[in-house]
Amino acid sequence: MSSTAPVYDIPKKDLDRWFDQRFAEKMAEREATHIPSMTIIATKGTLDMAYPPFILASTAAALGWDVSIFFTFYGLNLLKQDLDLKVSPLGNPAMPMKLPEGPTWIKGREIPMPTSVMTLVPGFESMATGMMKKTMDNKGIARIEQLRELCVEADVKLIACQMTVDLFDYGKEDFIPEIEEWVGAASFLPRAQKADVNLFV
C-alpha cells in the first residue's frame, strides 16, 4: 500500500455499520438486475429423456432466464430435422405399461408385463413408443418438436457437440439450422461456469 493513501479517523464501529449497509444495498441491486442462467447437458436420445431438457429449458426461458443446452452423444439426436424418438421398455422397469385407449375396464390400468422379457418380442418397442405418444397426446403433453420450437422461439441456445458428429459420422445437414454453434467441451464449460444452474440429463 502506498504511503500517500489518506488515513481516515473513523471509528471501526461506524465503518462496519456503513459497510454492512452499503454491502446490503449493493447485493440487493445486483439481485434485482441479475438475469438467472442455466446450462443443461443433454446426453440421451430417447423419447422419455428428450422431455426433461426441453421442458426445463423452455420453462426457464419463459421465466426470463438465459438458457443453453449442450447436446452430446445420443442427445444430439434431439436436434435432428426429422425426430424419430423411441422409448424403450428394456432396462426401464419403472415404465408403466398402460393402454391409452380401449374399454374402461382396461384403459389406464397397469398391465402386469415383464418389460425385460417383452422387449425381446419384435415390434414391442414400436408398440410401447406408440402407446406412450398416444398417452401424451391424450393428456395434453406437448410433442418434442413443439417444445423444441418453443425453445428456439424463446432464444434458448442450442449447442451441438462437434466430437459426436465426427464420432458417429453424422452429416450436419441432417440437423436443424437453429443450432447456435458446433463446439467442444472447452467451449461449453466456461458458459457452464457462469451459470446459476447446471443440469446433466
Binding site: 421442458i55 423452455s58 420453462t59 419463459a62 421465466l63 395434453g140 403433453i141 406437448a142 418453443l150 424463446a154
Partner: protein
C-alpha cells in the same frame, strides 16, 4: 385508468405449456393490462405463482372454478 383485459384458454394443456402460453400472451400486452388465464392443469396453480414472482407480474387472483382454474395476472 381502465385496464384492458385479455384472455388465454390453456385448458387441456399440460406442464409446461400453460406457462409458455402465458408468457407468450403477456409479452404482447401493455404494462398494467390484465391477462385472464383458464387452465385445467393442477400444477399450473403453483407454477403460475412462481412465474409471476420470477417475472414481476402480479397475480391478482387465482381460484378454482367449475372446469379448472382461473387466474388474473396484471402485467408489470
Amino acid at each position: 385508468m381502465s385496464e384492458t383485459v385479455h384472455t388465454l384458454d390453456a385448458r387441456g394443456l399440460n406442464c409446461p405449456l400453460p406457462i409458455l402460453r402465458t408468457r407468450k400472451a403477456i409479452t404482447a400486452l401493455a404494462s398494467g393490462d390484465i391477462l385472464e388465464v383458464t387452465a385445467t392443469d393442477p400444477g399450473s396453480v403453483k407454477d403460475l405463482d412462481s412465474f409471476c414472482s420470477q417475472t414481476g407480474h402480479e397475480m391478482v387472483s387465482s381460484k378454482q372454478v367449475e372446469d379448472g382454474f382461473f387466474f388474473r395476472i396484471r402485467k408489470a
